[in-house]
């Protein structure tokens, strides 16, 4: 057990360090002069060479790749994310504010996705191959095919412009959360529906179900006690991946709906080559992935203890 935990922590460390190093390399080697980008973002006009050199020195860009990397990762190891190269403000508080906008949106999107997908999948799986099933699957496919930026605009047109029920832009109230969350949710609902449906159908095909039925167990009990747990296994895997997809989608959706959050935070930071900010987001995302994966691993073992058993 301790061995397993050690392995997981080691894996997490490798993933996070790898992600950090890789982004640093990419940012460092991206075309254009990073000092120029930072200076332009800072002063908003073309700067003379002396100022440029000063920015270069301040941001530690003149000391070479490894020195810059060490400058950044050293303080990080004691929990200091550093200061923005552009504003000089500390990265951490701004990051926390951005997360405060993004996480509720992502979770709400996932909740909406599940709320749509579960009943749709159950309906489709009730009678596989029927017209109802085909309609449900077709609805799901449409959801996959619609790009989020288009769906977002469509929703704005309908609910904000045409009907005037909901605000289109900003993040002033909970009402502002509805349209972006719906955009995200419809996107995930599509793939979730298909996964859950096939999970249910596969679970119903198991060899031990006829014997349980002949023991006199009612169909509804069989669905609840034997089909649902088996169907949940593939769904949990996909849910983790889905959450990853959501975080990606969040960036697009936040920009469309003019919401502050990780999306805007990242886009401006990349434009300005604000190394500490970009790195902070990358690191956080990598960490999040590792944590989600870890949770899925644990949840798996709760759902299907055979998995842990075989590893041992």
């Amino acid at each position: 057990m301790t061995f397993a935990i050690l392995g997981l922590v080691l894996r997490a460390a490798v993933v996070v360090t790898g992600a950090a190093l890789l982004t640093f390399v990419l940012l460092w080697n991206a075309p254009g002069d990073p000092a120029m980008a930072i200076a332009q973002a800072r002063y908003n006009f073309v700067v003379p060479t002396e100022v440029l050199e000063q920015v270069r020195a301040e941001s530690g860009l003149d000391a070479g790749f490894w020195a810059a990397f060490k400058d950044w990762i050293g303080p990080l190891l004691v929990g200091d994310f550093g200061r923005s190269s552009v504003t000089g403000r500390e990265v951490w508080p701004d990051l926390v504010t951005a997360i405060g906008y993004t996480v509720p949106l992502a979770l709400m999107g996932l909740a909406i996705g599940l709320a749509i997908a579960l009943p749709l999948a159950a309906l489709a799986a009730r009678n596989p191959g029927s017209v109802l099933d085909r309609v449900c699957v077709a609805l799901a496919s449409v959801g996959v095919a619609i790009p989020q930026y288009w769906l977002g605009l469509l929703l704005i047109l309908l609910f904000a412009v045409h009907l005037g029920w909901l605000p289109a832009m900003g993040a002033r109230s909970t009402a502002n959360l509805v349209l972006p969350a719906l955009t995200l949710g419809l996107g995930v609902a599509a793939s979730l529906t298909r996964i859950i449906r096939s999970g249910i159908l596969e679970a119903r095909n198991q060899s031990f179900l006829p014997a349980i039925r002949r023991r006199g167990v009612s169909p509804s009990s069989i669905e609840r006690d034997h089909v649902a747990p088996h169907a949940a296994i593939p769904v949990v895997t996909v849910l983790g991946l889905e959450l990853a997809f959501l975080l990606e989608g969040v960036v697009v959706v936040e920009v469309i709906f003019g919401r502050p959050g990780l999306g805007g935070f990242l886009v401006t930071a990349i434009g300005a080559r604000d190394f500490p900010k970009v790195q902070a987001v990358v690191l956080l995302t990598a960490l999040l992935f590792v944590i989600i994966n870890l949770l899925i691993d644990i949840f798996y073992q709760v759902l299907d203890p055979r998995i842990g058993e075989h590893d041992a």
């Binding site: 060899s207 031990f208 014997a211 349980i212 002949r214 023991r215 009990s221 006690d225 088996h230 299907d304």
Partner: protein, 227 residues
């Protein structure tokens, strides 16, 4: 009371895999259902159970392998409780203890899932579960083919002992005539979806009438097998 079914018929993919069959089964009967692979033994077993259950009779089934009887995600305790509930019975620890000791699995840990038990123990658990409601008939579909010969013989001995003196009838499906010959008094031979011969075990083994029965009886080596 005699269990009877009439004109059981099964068609799959446009092909008749069980031709119309009628059967009467007396209480306490010991019947072997033999025949080559694909002759329709399991099909008849399932049709028989489903039809009798529709008549409201209490019949139980033991599939060939515990994998076909137990959900790997559910504990043994869950399976037991579920079987009791399905029969409308309250939880009765004493009944469970009695069945467990009859099949010698009293030391099995009920909190474990099926794969935490050996296959031989799983199969005995499934047999014990089939006996919960004191069924009028228990249909065992090659119950020991997944077990090693010694465990298989033990399991059948325990079941025999438990059933002796009870009114529960038994149908033992097998393609192993050796197993059948020792455990049953009546043999039914199946061929291509038909019962082609139905006779006392000794008669059938001595004087097989049909080609199918002769082919099965010709493998005399069954006499030396441990079960």
């Amino acid at each position: 009371m005699t269990l009877s079914v009439s004109d059981l018929r099964v068609e799959r993919a446009g092909r008749i895999i069980l031709h119309p069959t009628s059967l009467d089964i007396e209480p306490g009967a010991r019947i072997g259902l033999v025949g080559s692979s694909g002759s329709g033994k399991s099909t008849l077993g399932h049709a028989l159970i489903d039809d009798l259950q529709r008549q409201g009779r209490v019949v139980a089934q033991v599939p060939q392998s515990p994998d076909e009887a137990l959900d790997p995600l559910r504990t043994m305790a869950f399976h037991w409780r579920e079987a009791e509930k399905a029969l409308g019975l309250n939880h009765d620890k004493q009944r469970r203890q009695q069945l467990f000791s009859a099949l010698r699995i009293e030391h099995g840990d009920l909190r474990k899932r099926p794969w935490g038990w050996s296959r031989g123990m799983q199969q005995r658990f499934v047999i014990a579960m089939a006996l919960i409601g004191s069924p009028e008939l228990i249909v065992l579909d090659e119950p020991t083919s997944a077990l090693d010969p010694v465990v298989a013989a033990d399991t059948m001995d325990l079941l025999d002992k438990f059933l002796s003196g009870r009114r529960t009838a038994m149908i033992l499906i097998t393609h192993d005539l050796g197993l059948a010959a020792r455990r049953v008094s009546q043999l039914m031979v199946m061929d291509a979806g038909n019962i082609v011969e139905n006779a006392l075990t000794t008669d059938l083994l001595e004087r097989p009438k049909t080609q199918a029965a002769r082919a099965l009886a010709a493998h005399r080596s069954w006499l030396e097998l441990p079960c």
